[in-house]
Symmetry: C2
Subunit: 482 residues, 2 copies
């Protein structure tokens, strides 16, 4: 993705609409689009924002090459004057976004684009593609890491990812969500994240016997010696051969720093407990037992509950594809159109499903933290010209049940604005942190959630409230339209 011009990574209708706006130049007014999502992945209580670094690169690189213009011309639906315009196209608008690694909730604008409608429309598809994908995998990774209760999670799903980018950027997002490393070497190179891995069954099979394969591996990599023990028979062959090799290493004076076994099939609860006892009895209580094989957050939680003696987990397919929920569902909706006087006229999208009615206007988001605990109390979406203060009481109400009100006393909460400027007048004003720094930030972000919101079954849903002014604006627009 990095070195490819992604300007044509868009739906054709963005371009047909652009030409429509071009032909009616009075219609190229400045507008506001919000990218947001409606439901947390996997019926969870939160999501993790990710993908902003790639979104920034995409916007910076936006331009139609001669080759692109020729291709569009050959389609026979675009006129010469519009193609001339495209040849000089650059993004000239403003973009605000919630930083990567932040905990997010449904209906909050994750990305806000303020630009002439032709530009704002063009970027819809790529913005959604990038943000939907990485936010999905970062969220899934956070869930898997939560289940592991502090054990390390390794991402190694590249072979099952939906194409190279899904492997590369999926691993990036998995690191942001909390993984301790990835098997994906290209991801490691591009984003300076730890890469890890040992050997496959084919290594064992290419030797005359399992012991020789283990021994050869241990000689080569004595300081990170995790042996895969399930090629022939885990308890009868694999673990005894591994113990024999560890004993020989010890006898030879090789320091056993990081060593152990990996289980990749069978009943992981049973096998890990048996293997733990065998390793302990042989004098290797600090040998690591790691496991893989179609793991996800539910299976890890269950294995933990069963007392499995596993402290290191490799997660592939189910993480890199978010298998039980492989699409994030982010959408990009028109929120306002600039009027002749330069102020924004809020716009609303109706729907028969009241949850799908959009929030109109030029908005910002306050995150409200409980001062005593540092946990999130609620989020408050309001219009940009509103402001709230920590030294005044804050009245919150549920927009779907507006009679339900909560008054927070002055001094009992702290406020933080979530959307930060990323582009101003087409110029990037945001520097993406390193992935490992985003990961550290994301760990702290997850600490602002109560366990009740992080659990998998019926999690507590954090309130995302509207300010009174935004709520009234929305109701007024709904009244006008019905």
């Amino acid at each position: 993705m990095d070195r490819q011009n992604l300007t044509l990574l868009t739906d054709l209708y963005e371009l047909t609409m652009m030409q429509g706006y071009f032909k009616h130049k009075d219609r190229n007014e400045t507008v506001i689009f919000d990218a947001f999502y409606r439901n947390n992945p996997c019926d969870g209580g939160y999501a993790i924002a990710a993908g902003l670094e790639q979104l920034v690169k995409y916007i910076k690189d936006l331009h139609f090459s001669d080759h692109d213009i020729r291709y569009l011309s050959d389609l026979g639906i675009f006129d010469a004057d519009f193609l001339d315009y495209l040849a000089d196209f650059r993004f000239s608008g403003d973009i605000y976004a919630i930083p990567e690694g932040t905990v997010i909730f449904p209906r909050e604008p994750l990305v806000k684009v303020i630009a002439p409608i032709m530009e704002a429309q063009l970027v819809e598809t790529a913005i959604l593609n990038i943000i939907n994908h990485q936010s999905l995998i970062a969220t899934k990774a956070a869930r898997v890491c939560y289940a592991a209760k502090g054990d390390g999670i390794m991402e190694f799903g590249l072979r099952r990812a939906q194409g190279p980018d899904a492997g590369i950027y999926g691993a990036r997002a998995a690191m942001i969500g909390g993984c301790i490393g990835t098997s994906n070497v290209l991801c490691g190179q591009l984003f300076d994240v730890p890469v890890k891995g040992t050997h496959a069954h084919s290594w064992i099979m290419s030797f005359p016997d399992e012991y020789t394969a283990f021994k050869t591996y241990a000689d080569l990599y004595p300081t990170a010696c995790i042996l895969l023990v399930d090629t022939y028979d885990t308890l009868k062959s694999g673990v005894p051969n591994a113990i024999r090799v560890f004993q020989e290493m010890r006898a030879a004076g090789v320091p056993l720093t990081f060593y152990g076994i990996r289980l990749d099939s069978g009943d992981l609860a049973y096998l890990s407990k048996k293997a733990r006892r065998m390793l302990d009895e042989a004098g290797f209580p600090d040998a690591v037992i790691s496991a893989s094989n179609d793991l996800d957050e539910y299976l890890i939680e269950s294995l933990k509950a069963q007392g499995a003696a596993i402290t290191s987990w490799g997660v592939g397919t189910n993480l890199i594809t978010a298998k039980d929920n492989p699409a994030f569902g982010g959408v990009y909706k028109l929120a306002a159109v600039m009027g002749e006087d330069g102020s924004f006229i809020p716009k609303i999208k109706l729907s028969e499903n009241s949850e799908k009615v959009t929030n109109p206007g030029n908005k910002k988001i306050y995150r409200v933290y409980e001062k005593e605990t540092g946990k999130i109390k609620a989020d408050l979406i309001c219009l940009v010209d509103e402001s709230f203060r920590e030294d005044k009481p804050l009245l919150l109400f549920d927009p779907s049940e507006p009679w339900k009100k909560t008054k927070l006393p002055a001094g009992s909460f702290t406020l933080r604005e979530l959307l930060v400027p990323v582009f101003k007048d087409g110029k990037c004003c945001y520097e993406s942190p390193r992935v490992m720094d985003i990961r550290s930030y994301c760990m702290k972000e997850q600490d602002t959630l109560w366990d009740e919101t992080k659990r998998f079954v019926n999690p507590h849903q954090v309130y995302v409230d509207l300010s009174r002014k935004l709520y009234d604006t929305k109701i007024e627009l709904l009244d006008q339209m019905s």
Copy 2:
């Protein structure tokens, strides 16, 4: 993906194993690996092979740049002599593959790599990544197209795809599977496939009213005028406004060639029937009714069964992610190792699950067609030195129930070998067809399946048999190991 060096798109363990083989040069013998899958996606009766063109590019481009070597060196686990070897690395082996668009079944080698083990090991991850992804989406597309019974299916899932490549190569695979077009402009440019699309709700919302939005669109694109009618109220506003615009076009003498409406929400069965009647009564019986909104093969089949008046379908999320089955599950297993005399010694991977036991040896696949109908009778996996003839009777038996035998009389069947040479001694000897030609071939391939195999519920599973010689080899190896 095209312009990026994907050599490091691999799991770290491929490189650590490579160094192991390098350090024990006697272990760099020539081996055979098979890529195959175990279960048809979505509990179906078949899959579609796809991704070979990208696999070929990947193998051709394989090389470690100076930048790559420096990165690997910095990891601190690779020695200078091995890094020197990598700097000169090129793929020198043979690859055989089943051509893209071919109908495939579980346990058949889709890709067979014959190469020194260091090379064969390195390419595992990327081969699986590419083939797994595209075969998955091509299969899903074939299913969706089958449900539509000849109606056109448009792919437009880019915004929900798992990153840019998943959108680009997913759309490519969807075209192979049978879609008539994609919304993805970059895919259209790269692979010369039809791109399609009209307008979004935001087009309607940016105008003062729906009629003006439709009218403006129809003036711009009179020859492909599909109007999205559900922004406000489909039957009370959208369809009447569309009819008004079509009447004005007709009155103005604009030829109505390809025109109609798109439904994107609500009860598609009910709304399409109502809209059909309104369009017919207004004198537009040839107006197209297209539909979108979370469609998949099951929903399209149900809508067809309900008599929905829809003849054109747009499928997004559920196709581009293969939502109900987002991973193909292809694996890459060692099948043979070259002995000192230059002949291959078959290797087998055991498993507690007998279905997971691999087929050993250097293999090829015959597809057996019933001569009278041209439909697939069975596939026959055998060793490369075996041959079968159409003018002799053919005895087939089920490897899981070897007493079940079928004898095909001479002349009643035709045979075709499925694996074709792609690389010989590291040189590519295969030219990928154009995507639209692969699509035509894939349509014919799907015609070789009975409806009983294409149906969604409990499809008939096509027999994938082993030759007697391969079966005996397998049993002998199993006996030796137990």
